[in-house]
Amino acid sequence: MKINKILSALAFSSIGLLGTSMAQAEVADETQYPVIFAHGMSGWDSIAGYHYFGEDGYGTFVGDACSFFELNGCNDWISNGQQSNNKAEAFQVTSFNNSEARGEELYNHVLNFMATTGHTKVNFVGHSQGGMDIRKAASRLKDNFNEPRVGAMISISSPHRGTSYAKRIVDLYARNADDEFCGALPPTAEGSDPCLEFVDDIANVLFDFVTGANTANNDAIAGALQLIYDDYDANDGVVTGAKAFNQNYPSEGVAGYVGSLITAQDDNNLSPLLGLIGTAVSHNADGDGYCVDDCNGDGAAGQGDGNVYDMDDDGLVPINSQQMGYRLQYTPDDFTCRWYGCWNPLDTISQVSSTGYVADLNSPSSIQMTSHEAVLDQDHLDVVSLGPDDLDEEEFYAAIFDFIHGQGY
């Protein structure tokens, strides 16, 4: 147990016994190692603007404490040391590409970070495809230093075992008029993918809200193929997909703690953008059934349970694709009164025991693919700054900082 929590408990118990009510907010404990955030497909970072890992609509980076940005932009749920000791950072990688390329970029960013700050280990928090990128970066760090250099590695809403939406998009939009697969075709004279229009549309919607998107070196087809479980085309000369990536970059042996937060939401509550994608590809994932590998060929491991309306995906990723390592539970904790008084405690992240531990990403158990336990009722974009939604991103990520600290990292 954390000593400062013990002291807090004693302090509050004493006050409670004196009959005094307290009204106070906690802050997350400072992590031992810096937390590096990795964005999803089409994501972005920002030096001081509208941040991917930020508060909806106002752009505060969740890792900026209030001692440095006292006015107009800081997270008062995290400790000052998290920032003053250079322990929170997000790096931008190519918006659309596979995780081999993006993970390599992230790895290089971390080397830069280590050179600048002197830190020798990091924690990773990755959203969506960022949850796959961090596995490659962690593996490369281990190779480089001959030992693991990642404390906690946590994914949020990540398609570790693919998503049927990606396959639908590739099936429908990554083929030209002759039904040829664009991934197997040479690039155009401009060097872009020949079938980028649809993906460009999606990117425009996202990027128009923000600045600094990294659109150089994009390979949207490679990015989409990364999110399909199996190798998409046996004849295109490359081996793509989440399954091969999982074999090359397992979560085991590269980090001290591995966990994942899983998101899903009712179709009626999805962000309009996600609804738009679902409508465009005429697809609603059924993602809470079990089978070995991609038995039904929909692009994601597992299958459905016959009901598409039971919160089995978050608008982009089915729940049976998301667990890596331990499943984590997020518990919002608002104004509350306990025996020691009334206050506003920090939200919490805890480890779920009933769904066990996914060690081999390609071989989860039935319960790990089908259980709805601890699934966070948010859509794929609610956990980042693309609101509006009812998630308090600042407190949510502060709870993750606190959890990582609690794991000793």
Partner: protein
């Protein structure tokens, strides 16, 4: 130590351990147990609402005095959290946004009126302004939500303009304070665009960059964290990379070191960067030769024979560990050494 002292010490230790253990397990005990414990532990106080004081559904279970106590706690919390900066529009909106989430959970049907009531109780002198901002905020987020369905904007500039038009319409000039970070980012982006077109020397560009950073984000920008990003952001510009490419290796090393030093890095950090740059340059040299040889092999062999030759080449050029990474990447279609080196990044 006499027996009495031992006894007192033992009781103290056990008490501390029990209190600590109780705290860790607090969430796992039943709500009923919490109520009972609350009543027992605080003899002079009435039991506090065990459910966390949530209203509406559970509100009827609360005694009036408990509701008052929770309300008093909220007021104390909000005054502590926001009191010193409540005259700032950004923090007003931030508080409103936080409270909207909380009040919706506590009062699903009447959260708006309850929130306005709370404004009057906590910050009576700002209640009117806060109420006005609440409605503007509700309208703004609804508009943002509808915007995500809208693909009709021609480009990012158009959409950005629409965002600012809406912000100014709803919040007036206070929008500039509320979205100060976004405004600064816009200003900084414009300066970066100008810098991207500059034909000045590398040294002059670094000087202009630092001045821009300070002008937009303040003199203390280098003390505010994110130093890695701040330093490398300049190096993302293609003309800056071209400057570095045109230098000899030694000149580049000196120039980069000077630049990083001017951005506040100490000797230890500069030495780490020197070492990283050097390692990357060596890897790039190896990688370039590898790609040349690989392309030559591809003109001579094909199929399994090519695959075997390339594998052997990878092993020879990079060693076992790195060769495995290169192999995986090429299998996926990614060729690390096909693109130009980006100094400061790879």
């Amino acid at each position: 130590m006499n027996k009495f002292k031992v006894l007192v010490l033992s009781v103290s230790i056990i008490s501390v351990v029990l209190v600590s253990l109780w705290f860790t397990q607090n969430d796992s005990i039943s709500e009923h147990e919490k109520s009972v414990q609350a009543a027992n532990d605080s003899a002079t106080e009435p039991p506090l609402p065990a459910s966390g004081g949530k209203g509406d559904a559970s509100g009827s279970e609360l005694a009036i005095s408990d509701e008052d106590k929770l309300k008093a706690a909220k007021i104390k919390f909000l005054k502590g959290q926001y009191g010193a900066k409540i005259d700032n529009p950004y923090w007003q909106i931030k508080m409103i946004d936080q409270l909207m989430g909380l009040m919706k959970k506590e009062f699903p049907l009447s959260w708006e009126s309850e929130l306005i009531k709370l404004f009057h109780e906590v910050f009576p002198e700002y209640a009117e302004a806060l109420t006005k901002k609440l409605y503007a905020h509700i309208e703004y987020i609804a508009w943002i939500d509808s915007l995500k369905n809208d693909l009709t904007f021609e480009n990012r500039d158009d959409r950005r303009q629409a965002l600012w038009d809406k912000r100014l319409e709803l919040f007036g000039d206070e929008a500039y304070e509320i979205w100060e970070a976004a405004l600064k980012q816009d200003k900084f982006d414009a300066q970066m665009e100008s810098l991207a077109q500059s034909t000045d020397s590398f040294n002059e560009k670094t000087e202009q960059y630092l001045n821009s950073m300070k002008e937009v984000f303040g003199e203390n920008v280098l003390q505010a964290g994110h130093k890695t990003q701040i330093i490398n952001h300049l190096l993302t510009l293609e003309n800056v990379q071209n400057d570095l490419r045109s230098m000899s290796a030694e000149e580049r090393r000196v120039q980069l070191r000077n630049y990083r030093e001017s951005m506040g890095l100490d000797d230890a950090a500069l030495t780490r960067w020197d070492s990283l740059d050097q390692k990357r340059d060596l890897m790039r040299e190896t990688g370039t030769l590898y790609m040349e040889e690989r392309n030559r092999l591809a003109q001579t062999y094909e199929g399994d024979a090519l695959s075997d030759k390339v594998k052997a080449l990878q092993l020879d050029a990079f060693g076992e560990t790195e060769a495995k990474a290169i192999y995986n990447e090429e299998q996926s279609g990614y060729y690390r050494y096909n693109s130009l080196q980006k100094f400061g990044f790879n």
